[in-house]
Symmetry: C2
Subunit: 262 residues, 2 copies
């Protein structure tokens, strides 16, 4: 196979553009993956991989571990080890990269079911937090994560922090909180606003019966009052310690843990 | 006041050394803080601040917000705005820096009490995780966090991620797991090993009665078998979802939440 050595190769150029530019990802509907484990997860979950790049070293080490059946529709390219180091975003590059197609946009009504458990993230801004929350939602087992005005799902940092959960989890990107609330209402889903307020309902006492959605807000500012006000219940993690706030991902994880255990 | 403009000023040199070198921190027993909020927290919690550096701009903005009484024993230095940018480790420097003395080393027996709730972190390696866990421990209210072979507590990244909880939380750096287990035994403290094992005891059923200590292991490898085996209970976060692991900080947070609620 030909070994690509130049950054000017059109496929490599596309990879680099997609790895650095949100605009490019949005325009093309594609995003990138780096690392063997992540790419294997994508393959196993039938995500739409278009291209895989192996460095020469990585090809020897990893390619036999991906079945030919899985790679039928995938264009496999070999790049030089040096080029692999250049296009990598990690400290210890494995030399495996992929270009992936985003899944088709779903309709909210097809996404929500009456007795489902959902997490809504509103204006969450930190990519590491977003990834960690999706990973936790996948682990504890909720039916879907809804993103409303959050940081970009398909940025490399978010994708990496999900540890592959992004391929398994049902994720919906909402563009209208009005639509969201009316869909919850139509399906009899109770909404819980996670707030920092000692007068709010104690999370430990929430029963989370039937269909439920928990709303988590921005890292610095929490949920806007109008969003919290539209929820069925305002719930709080009662702090017994010295500070009255938790990292947003931790708060989301504790709400997920409580909701999934009921 | 004289404005320091050079990186060669001995005080500035010390600050920079302490901010980049673990060895230097260990040797001197000092560490650094950056940012007004963090430094205010340190002052409020009576941490031993030796020096504060303000840039000229920051001095105008922040210095009046720290009381003279609090700053009695503190050497205050003014540095140029340019120098502030040079020595900063953040993207948006506020221009406030401090050199702090580490608290005196405690004895384990003075740290542990019979009915206390403790978290033991064993071989935790990620500074962001360590900081987030200390913050969570402070919020939910446990009696102490014990570090055993973890990444360095006083690195700027850990200190920053604790969001000030490092000054409030009881933290003990253990050098002997033998001593730890015998101290727990002598005090009738039950130890819980957090493991990923569907045969282990379900965390949701743990009662955490009386004195308790939860052990959390390394991000990649979890707890070593010999440590888990010495604990009274092997407990697990039963996953109902698709993956069988959580980020170590998230797992610690969920254990802390369960332990503090019982």
């Amino acid at each position: 196979m030909t070994v690509i050595t130049s950054k000017d190769n059109p496929s490599v150029k596309l990879y680099v553009k997609l790895s650095v530019s949100k605009k490019e990802r949005k325009k093309s509907g594609m995003y990138v993956l780096e690392g063997f484990r992540l790419i294997t997860d994508a393959v196993n979950e039938k995500s739409l991989i278009k291209q895989i790049f192996f460095t020469e070293e990585a090809y020897e080490k990893y390619s036999s571990m991906l079945s030919q059946a899985d790679l039928k529709e995938v264009k496999v390219l070999i790049i030089s080890n040096e080029l692999g180091i250049k296009i990598s975003c990690t400290e210890k590059p494995q030399g495996v990269f992929a270009v992936c197609e985003m899944p088709p946009v779903k309709k909210l009504n097809d996404f929500i079911r009456k007795d489902g458990k959902y997490l809504v993230l509103h204006q969450l801004q930190d990519p590491g937090n977003l990834g960690m929350i999706i990973r936790t939602a996948d682990a504890v087992g909720v039916d879907g994560v809804i993103l409303s005005e959050c940081c970009e799902l398909y940025s490399p940092k978010v994708i990496r922090s999900t540890m592959g959960s992004v391929f398994r989890m049902n994720i919906f990107e909402s563009t209208s909180t009005d639509e969201l609330f009316s869909c919850f209402e139509n399906n009899g889903i109770s909404s819980y606003a996670a707030v920092i307020d000692s007068d709010a309902y104690d999370l430990r006492k929430c029963t989370f019966e039937g269909g439920c959605a928990v709303f988590i807000g921005n890292e610095g500012n929490g949920l806007p009052a109008d969003i919290a006000g539209r929820c069925t219940v305002r719930a709080t993690i009662r702090m017994s310690g010295h500070i009255n706030s938790l990292n947003a991902a931790m708060a989301a994880g504790i709400f997920l843990w409580e909701m999934s255990g009921k």
